[in-house]
């Protein structure tokens, strides 16, 4: 088969698996993204490679993975732009003491538990090409991730965006996302600086200057995009082309600064005007292609790197269990206790904990980045992919157990009598 026919066959197969397994998961009340993550694992060495190695080698020959990887990276860049676009800075302020406390605790507690867990994992799953500090900071960051898109989707599905639980959870997830990506950028810069690229000071200094320019210079300067949109009443192809060009230029810049292209794409999304109609219009133009075509490629590529055979033996499975336990204790436990201390009832605090514990696709993005730069080993990557799957899978049942949907609905109805109902923010369909 030629390279192109192999790639076309791969894409078709990936879409079929992602859509069908996603549908099955949706049928059981899970976010589609969990099914798509599982589809990636099914197509990888853990299932297809194990059950039919010859077929797997024919469909996904190692030489063809470069082009699949490149396409999936483009999809990821577009997705990170959408995540940034959804992120409204207003969510991060003015939510009061509970949100401030919960958001900070929901970052710092899982981070602390992750760094402490790293003391145990480092001699067992890493090697001396990675320093303990970089390894521990990465594990801490991975533990602190919350999937903002998944969370926004769950809240939108349950009409909870304006319920106190939903508002606090969204604010916390937004703060967590930004903080986690900043820490991650620093870790990537530190690891890459040892590989002969830019010196660390230049990477960190350059990134800070670039982020500052984007936020304080480019952001006000881009308000005309919204004015153009309002004048025309739609996002024209020219406008969309300009936005995409911005995304690519920013991704290129951060990649060359020594952090990662994903950060640049996220940054452009975050600084664009946040008028809900504009955000929705831009999202709608890009989202379907990204969610249906490009993101499944990323899931498949991640699945091809996930080999459950690497988690063999009792000790490895115990380590996986420990990673899941620490992840849940840090995020669910930390957020819940902080929300309770901040003044929420136990039931509401538990719901916040359950929502914050969802990691979904964002965790997968972080883990792939870690594997790419060599800060985590293949076995730890697999264990943490399993953790991401488990924590995302448990979100809805846990939420239903703690705070049933009918109870939420009753309370939201009570709220809507006194408050005008506002439209929920766009939630990336990749949720």
């Amino acid at each position: 088969m030629t390279n192109l026919s192999t790639l076309l066959l791969q894409i078709a197969l990936i879409i079929v698996f992602a859509r069908s397994i996603g549908l099955v998961f949706r049928h059981f009340g899970q976010p589609q993204v969990v099914g798509e993550m599982a589809a990636g694992i099914v197509l990888g060495p853990s299932v297809l490679g194990w059950a039919a190695p010859a077929l797997s080698a024919t469909l996904f020959p190692p030489a063809s993975l470069g082009q699949l990887s490149a396409l999936s990276q483009v999809g990821l860049i577009a997705f990170m732009f959408l995540v940034g676009l959804e992120l409204d800075p207003k969510l991060m302020r003015g939510r009061g003491h509970t949100a401030l406390l919960t958001s900070h605790v929901s970052i710092v507690v899982p981070f602390f538990l992750g760094v402490t867990l790293a003391l145990f994992l480092y001699p067992r799953l890493s090697d001396d090409s990675v320093t303990f500090t970089n390894f521990a900071l990465f594990v801490g960051t991975a533990m602190g991730i919350t999937a903002f898109p998944v969370l926004a989707r769950i809240l939108a599905e349950r009409h909870l965006i304006h319920h106190p639980v939903g508002a606090v959870a969204l604010a916390c997830a937004a703060v967590d996302d930004v903080t986690a990506w900043c820490i991650l950028a620093a870790v990537v810069a530190a690891v890459r600086s040892g590989e002969g690229s830019l010196p660390l000071w230049l990477t960190i200094g350059g990134s800070a200057v670039y982020a500052g320019l984007m936020i304080f210079v480019a952001r006000p300067g881009l308000r005309w995009l919204q004015r153009v949109y309002e004048r025309r009443g739609r996002v024209s192809q020219d406008l969309l082309g300009f936005v995409l060009l911005l995304v690519l230029a920013s991704a290129w810049t951060t990649e060359h600064l020594g952090i990662h292209a994903l950060f640049g794409a996220f940054l452009v999304g975050a600084i664009l005007p946040k008028d809900p109609a504009f955000v929705r219009a831009v999202t709608e133009r890009i989202e379907d292609l990204v969610v249906v075509l490009l993101l499944p490629l990323f899931f498949a590529f991640s699945g091809l790197r996930t080999s459950i055979a690497l988690v063999s033996g009792t000790e490895a499975w115990l380590m996986t269990g420990l990673i899941i336990l620490v992840a849940v204790a840090g995020k669910f436990g930390g957020s819940m206790i902080a929300a309770r201390v901040g003044g929420m009832k136990w039931r509401e605090a538990g719901a916040i904990g359950a929502l914050m514990n969802t990691r979904g696709l964002m965790e997968l993005v972080v883990l792939n980045l870690g594997l790419d730069i060599g800060v985590i080993s293949p076995a730890l990557f697999t264990m943490m992919v399993l953790m991401a799957l488990v924590t995302t899978l448990m979100t809805k049942p846990l939420l239903e157990l703690i705070y049933p949907a009918r109870r939420f609905a009753a309370e939201t109805d009570a709220v809507s009598v006194t408050e005008p109902v506002r439209r929920p923010p766009a939630a990336t369909g990749a949720a």
């Binding site: 060495p45 003491h97 401030l100 406390l101 900070h104 605790v105 710092v108 507690v109 981070f111 602390f112 760094v115 402490t116 790293a118 003391l119 480092y122 001699p123 067992r124 799953l125 890493s126 090697d127 001396d128 090409s129 990675v130 303990f132 500090t133 390894f135 521990a136 900071l137 801490g140 590989e195 790197r305 996930t306 080999s307 055979a309 690497l310 206790i337 902080a338 201390v341 901040g342 594997l371 730069i373 060599g374 080993s377 293949p378 076995a379 730890l380 697999t382």
Partner: protein, 162 residues
Amino acid sequence: MKALLQYAPMVGVPLLGIALSLRAGSHLQAPPSIGGAWRVVESRDPGPACPALTAVGAIRDLRIAQSGPGLRVLLRGEQGTVLLTGNLTGWPDSAGELAGTPIQVHVASATLSLAGAVRRDSLPARFRLDLTEPTCGTLPARQIIAHLGGPAGTGPRKDRQP
């Protein structure tokens, strides 16, 4: 005031914990890294070949994916590839490594066994290994020497995938 009293311990204590854990971990030693692509520079086949060795053919390169002391070694021969799994079986401390003590490796598949020693202090790093087929009598091992950093375009850090 109440808010500050809640905030300070709930955020401050974990922050302190992070600092202490990072400090404690700075003394930890992880196993030596031998992961990456190794290019075969010398191979000596001492005699009549066994079936599994013949099936692989002359070895061109090895790709090692490492997770702690755990190893997955993909041997790529002219006629086929074979995956061997195993561990680092012994490694010196940094002083020992400087003195030339090698890192010991043992990996195996259902049919092949590979035992070897890696020296990272030589330039390029050198992997001397004996490849045998245990079920094939007492025939001598195929002796191979590989250098880190090949084939073209691959390196030690970019090839950690399983």
